[in-house]
């Protein structure tokens, strides 16, 4: 599950990280306002196309199937009359459907952007170092924490107190302490070493950082943003 938060590969057409963030924000605003099938569908296919552009085929197709199933359930329920009890389920499905494009837009940010691209984009947005450094450390650390967690779970299996359903029910405090203490102490130790190594590479120097990776907004970026804005305006004016 931790690999969901890491860079997976570059897309066909490169999109500026800033564009991705703007699209994400616009999508979340649109999702809050709009739930009619036509615009929702447009929003979905917009983010779907972006996922395909980002070569996230498996994830995109999973989302497509999920969306199709949810539409299908909706249609089925509409065809037959609604029993009261099913309504809450339907409500849940519809709300989830509204959020699907936003989650996909988020996945585009996370999965198709390199940490160095993030840094370069943040630099252009004049985001202070206090955010950019922790931000890049966060993405670097997700897989590391995943490894640590796996190792701790393995060690707990050997010792006889694995994080199993039975143990969580019968002695929650104990297994909780056993998982969290090594996790915290070990990551702090790793972080200490990482700090030392980074400082030795001149991180935090008072000179302005340069970046080998260039980010530039192209025509394509403006088109995407324009489309997302149009979707937003439509969702407001269509009332």
């Amino acid at each position: 599950m931790f690999n969901d938060f890491s860079f997976q590969g570059e897309g066909f057409i490169k999109i500026d990280p800033r564009t991705k963030m703007i699209i994400f924000i616009l999508c979340s605003i649109a999702a809050l306002r709009e739930s009619r099938t036509l615009f929702q569908g447009l929003l979905f296919f917009f983010t779907f196309a972006l996922l395909i552009n980002g070569k996230q085929f498996i994830f995109a197709i999973k989302m497509l199937i999920l969306y199709g199933v949810m539409i299908g359930i909706d249609l089925l329920v509409m065809m037959f009359c609604l029993p009261e009890a099913l309504m809450i389920l339907l409500m849940g499905i519809r709300v989830f459907r509204m959020f699907l494009p936003v989650m996909m837009a988020f996945a585009i940010i996370i999965k198709t952007t390199r940490v160095s691209e993030f840094l370069a984009a943040f630099d252009k947005m004049h985001v202070p170092e206090e955010i950019t450094i922790p931000f890049s450390v966060m993405f670097r650390f997700f897989p590391t924490i995943g490894e640590e967690w796996d190792n701790i779970q393995n060690a707990m299996k050997f010792r006889g107190f694995a994080l199993t359903f039975k143990n969580i029910i019968t002695r929650p405090a104990f297994v909780y302490e056993c998982s969290i203490v090594p996790l915290l102490s070990d990551t702090v130790l790793i972080a200490d070493e990482l700090s030392a190594a980074s400082l030795c590479r001149g991180l935090g120097a008072n000179t302005k950082r340069t970046s080998l990776v260039e980010v530039r907004m192209g025509v394509f970026d403006y088109m995407l943003i324009g489309f997302a804005i149009w979707l937003n305006i439509m969702s407001y004016t269509a009332y």
């Binding site: 599950m1 931790f2 938060f5 994400f24 924000i25 979340s28 605003i29 999702a31 809050l32 306002r33 709009e34 739930s35 009619r36 009261e84 309504m87 809450i88 409500m91 519809r94 709300v95 509204m98 959020f99 936003v102 989650m103 988020f106 170092e129 206090e130 955010i131 450094i133 922790p134 931000f135 890049s136 450390v137 966060m138 670097r140 650390f141 997700f142 924490i145 995943g146 967690w149 994080l163 969580i168 909780y176 302490e177 969290i180 203490v181 996790l183 915290l184 102490s185 990551t187 702090v188 130790l189 790793i190 972080a191 990482l194 700090s195 980074s198 400082l199 991180l203 935090g204 009332y239």
Partner: protein, 192 residues
Amino acid sequence: MKEKKLQTKDLIMAGVFAVLYVALICIMASLTGMFIPVYLILPLIAGIVLGPVYTLYISKVPKMGAVLILSVLAGFVMSASSIVVLLYVVVLGVIAQIILTKTNYSTSGIRISYIIFACATEGPFLSLFFAREGFLNTCAQYYGQEYADKIDAVTPIWVLFVQIAIALIGGFIGGRIGMGMNAKHFKKAGIA
């Protein structure tokens, strides 16, 4: 405790703790995800489980802005469903930071600030309730007011307040456990 400016090593520590924070939420969600009733009390569980992460972080980086950074990063990742969550979490972060500064990082100050910050895990649920309004509006237009009222009736808003209440309780317990764990393990091990 004297507050100093955040140094590079503090920023790295902030990033690491943000990962811990988010990763543990993911782990909890995957462990409890199968049981929807348990999922609804996630703010309580998360409040308890994340207590040690917060308290250890504060004792490692007792500086102005540390909680704010944590809230921005954790808020960003939690905002996968809506950008509103980020704003919500950052507001909590600001409040927690003010409490910490005012109480000068005393034990009770850390615990009170965590009670506030524990509400952050309510964020993803909050976005559902933001969406609810918009959803009901369109429902009313398309399927009639009656239908919208029915939906309104079966999705009570008080769940939200209950969740915030249990998040506060979770924060209370979590802060206590966190301080305890700091004394029992991390101070003794020389890492706090």
